[in-house]
């Protein structure tokens, strides 16, 4: 109707992108600012050694944040990551000690990740419990399970060699961890953009009822999202055990909220249905740089926390303000 007055304009994709998604572009700007700040505070941040180190750290957060991004995109959250990491790290070291063969760590990662994902999806999709509190409870159960299983002592003397390769080695000058991260990132970005699964994720996140009524397999989407999230966390558990050369209790404790922060800084909205993994990449790097910068400032723990909180707040303020 009245096509003359409002012709269907077909703007160039580039223009589209710039006007429609200021969030994810802004997150790279912020990363640049954080990086510039780090360098100003300590020029050593410009050395390849430091950058490489930060890349490994960022890879750990970044891979975990794949699952977190997906969970947040479907309008939920995953806070069961810390003890999924710990359980998988400890279990893979343990089982490997008993059966030292190369595929064992991966089998453990898959078993842990898939089971945690299924339990999460069960509570959140089938029972429709709020994901925040369900995943926190699952986290508590995993903590209990780990403690009961280990009798609160990590017992394996060493970690599988593949864990060390993943976390410590370099290939062609690049840390293996960040190469793995890059590969995962490409895969997830492609999946979100070009696979039906990706469209399903956005559809469920923006209106689950409408998704159901459009024939989207909503249950399967939940399951896949949470299983991926479990797998990412379990895999990172293996990597961290390699990084520290041992699996220990509480090794995932610092992975509760930073992944959420990375996702949010990356411009994905917590209400679901909008955002993507590209932003999370810069979000992960920003979070890690911020942490490292605060360490290098050599200030009291309390002040460091305050600064982290305030800076995060500032970033969130820039990115996630609700429209209304």
């Amino acid at each position: 109707m009245s096509d003359a007055a409002h012709p269907i304009k077909m703007p160039t994709r580039l223009k589209d992108r710039l006007t429609r998604r200021p969030g994810s572009n802004l997150s790279w700007v912020i990363l640049a600012v954080v990086f510039a700040l780090s360098v100003a505070i300590n020029p050593a941040f410009l050395t390849w050694g430091t950058i490489r180190l930060q890349l490994v750290q960022a890879a750990l957060i970044g891979i975990v944040a794949i699952g977190e991004t997906l969970a947040i995109l479907i309008g939920h959250i995953d806070l069961s990551i810390p003890w999924t990491i710990t359980l998988s790290g400890i279990l893979s070291a343990d089982v490997y000690a008993a059966h030292p063969s190369a595929w064992v760590p991966f089998a453990v990662v898959i078993a842990v990740g898939v089971s945690v994902g299924l339990v999460n999806a069960f509570g959140i999709y089938l029972l429709r419990v709020h994901s925040l509190i369900w995943t926190l409870s699952v986290n508590l159960i995993l903590q209990g399970l780990t403690l009961v299983y280990t009798n609160a002592t990590a017992s394996a003397p060493s970690v599988p060699p593949v864990a060390r390769t993943l976390a410590l080695d370099n290939w062609g000058g690049f840390p293996v961890a960040s190469l793995v991260w890059a590969a995962c990132a490409v895969a997830v970005i492609l999946a979100l953009r070009a696979l039906p699964f990706g469209r399903h994720v956005y559809a469920v996140g923006s209106n689950e009822l409408a998704a159901l009524m459009s024939g989207v397999p909503t249950g399967r989407t939940y399951v896949v999202v949470y299983v991926i999230s479990g797998l990412c966390a379990a895999f990172v558990g293996l990597m961290i055990s390699g990084y520290a050369s041992q699996a220990y209790l509480g090794m995932g404790d610092s992975y509760l909220l930073p992944p959420v922060a990375a996702v949010v800084i990356g411009g994905t909205r917590l209400s679901g249905g909008s955002g993507g993994y590209a932003g999370t990449i810069s979000g992960s790097l920003s979070v890690i740089l911020l942490q490292a910068m605060l360490v290098s400032l050599n200030i009291s723990e309390g002040l460091r926390q305050i600064i982290f909180g305030v800076i995060l707040l500032g970033l969130v303020f820039l990115f996630t303000r609700q429209r209304k």
């Binding site: 409002h6 589209d16 070009a194 469209r199 209106n207 159901l212 459009s214 024939g215 249905g273």
Partner: protein
């Protein structure tokens, strides 16, 4: 009653509102006079709701001024509008499902005792009195709003507006969700308020309502005022022409091709029952047939469509067959697999993804088919989307803009487009033209016509009785959850439908 509006009333001048590139309203002036019903006419997206939102203080105009009783006023917030005694019933209802009717009606104006505590009993009395003023007897003030039907919620919303003893009452499409008798009721209420010296803004897409109630008519097109008529000069045909622009349009009866009886029924439903909602529905629909589900609001028509589409998770009994194969569903995916498609009435809640782009809304049903080498081919997606946008004349800046930024009618077209893309044997239309303007309505009619011509079966529920006469070859009239009679061909008239709605047919034709 408090002070009344003096004869100058509310005067809006030169209102302009832009959303990014779209000018939703351009230099529109409006005079609201006490004791008059001022109707706003316009196609979907003409800017009616935008104007309403400005008067309600929800949004602020980019340009323009407002004067109330010759004093300039600024409506910076909804509170400001209420203080000026301008009360609005929005197109999208603004109720609290978790609160009772009385709590909803009196929200923010509760009766309180000296220390400021709410006196529930007094509030309930006030709410009851207000509902009685509106001649509503069947809603208890202590009922939960979530238990009410849409029509009842609409009345609660009006009662809520009445509490402000408004000088200006704005009703944005109050009748779009109502059945015939509710509409009559509501128009009666509007007349009563007019009699009390209220200035009323009334928006509707139904010409007969405008004819019967409006004292003044303002016609909008693409955000501009294109005509003004008084009761005396009002002429529906002329108004339609102004609304739609130069393109001449003729609504005419679309005759579905009479289906040869030899063809086996595409859809065969026997004794379909949903406890408490649908009592034993049986029907057969042949390819190319368009069957209407008529009756007063809330008699099980919608439930029938929802039950076929798998929206009831349990309790279904009876049989459903499509092309002779069992097709009873407890999940929409099952129903879709048996070749059903449902175009729902509640766009926001069920139809679309307001935050996602128009293109993505359309392609969601056919992702598998758009794949090449496993990934969705952007080219194929783009051409599919572009084709449907053009076919249904969806008005949007680009297929990438979010669905939520489109006007209601265009959103509805997007929802239909999604199912045209997918294709189905049986199309279920649930009040598809609710709140849709004449132009879009015609496009939807054409679409239904062509679907029938292709040999699909179509079931339509509508709150607009005229639609059955235009579209259907057969109409089933529902009453109390079951079919009370059916009409064929020339029998399909408003009178006959209403007759069957109220009195059980002695013998179904």
């Amino acid at each position: 009653m408090g002070a009344v509006l003096d004869a100058t009333g509310l005067h809006a001048a030169g209102l302009t509102k832009r959303y990014g590139g779209i000018t939703a309203l351009q230099d529109v002036s409006l005079k609201l006079v006490p004791g008059e019903v001022h109707a706003l006419l316009g196609a979907n997206g003409a800017g009616k709701s935008t104007l309403v939102k400005i008067l309600a203080g929800i949004i602020q105009p980019d340009e323009g001024t407002l004067e109330l009783n010759r004093e300039p006023i600024r409506l910076g917030s909804p509170q400001a509008a209420y203080r000026a005694r301008i009360a609005t019933v929005h197109q999208e209802l603004s109720l609290f499902p978790g609160l009772t009717v009385a709590q909803n009606v009196l929200i923010g104006r509760e009766t309180r005792d000296r220390i400021g505590w709410i006196r529930e009993a007094a509030s309930i009395d006030t709410a009851r009195a207000l509902l009685e003023q509106l001649d509503v007897q069947d809603i208890a003030p202590t009922a939960m709003v979530s238990d009410l039907s849409l029509a009842q919620q609409q009345l609660v919303e009006i009662a809520k507006a009445m509490l402000f003893d408004p000088l200006v009452l704005i009703l944005d499409e109050p009748t779009s969700a109502l059945g015939r008798s509710d509409v009559e009721h509501l128009l009666g209420v509007v007349r009563k308020l007019r009699g009390r010296g209220c200035a009323i803004v009334f928006i509707s897409h139904r010409m007969d309502e405008i004819t019967s109630i409006a004292d003044q008519v303002t016609v909008l097109r693409n955000g501009r005022k294109v005509g003004e008529m008084s009761r005396a000069t009002f002429n529906p045909a002329k108004a339609l022409e102004l609304m739609l622009g130069d393109t001449p349009r003729h609504l005419q009866r679309l005759k579905a091709p009479a289906s040869p009886d030899l063809q086996p029924p595409l859809l065969d439903v026997r004794d379909l029952t949903v406890p408490g909602r649908l009592a034993g529905l049986s029907l057969e629909v042949r390819p190319g047939e368009v069957v209407g589900l008529a009756g007063l609001e809330g008699q099980g028509q919608k439930e029938a469509l929802f039950a076929l589409f798998g929206l009831f998770r349990r309790g279904l009994s009876g049989s459903v067959k499509v092309r002779g194969k069992p097709a009873r569903a407890t999940r929409p995916r099952q129903a879709i697999a048996s070749a059903f498609a449902l175009i729902p009435d509640d766009r926001k809640a069920m139809g679309g993804f307001v935050g996602l782009g128009v293109g993505r809304n359309i392609s969601i049903t056919v992702l598998d088919r758009l794949r090449s080498l496993g990934v969705i081919s952007p080219g194929r997606e783009r051409s599919l989307v572009a084709g449907l946008v053009e076919r249904l004349r969806i008005k949007c800046a680009s297929p990438a803009v979010p669905l939520g930024s489109l006007s209601g009618g265009n959103q509805q077209k997007v929802v239909a487009a999604k199912w045209l893309a997918h294709g189905a044997d049986v199309y279920l239309f649930c009040d598809p033209t609710r709140g849709v303007d004449a132009g879009a309505r015609e496009i939807l009619y054409e679409t239904i016509h062509s679907l029938a011509a292709e040999g699909r079966s179509i079931l339509i529920y509508s709150t607009d009785m005229n639609e059955f006469a235009i579209l259907c070859s057969r109409v089933l009239v529902f009453r109390g959850g079951h079919v009370s009679g059916s009409l064929v061909g020339a029998e399909i008239t408003e009178e006959n439908i209403l007759g069957l709605s109220f009195h059980e047919a002695a013998h179904a034709a």
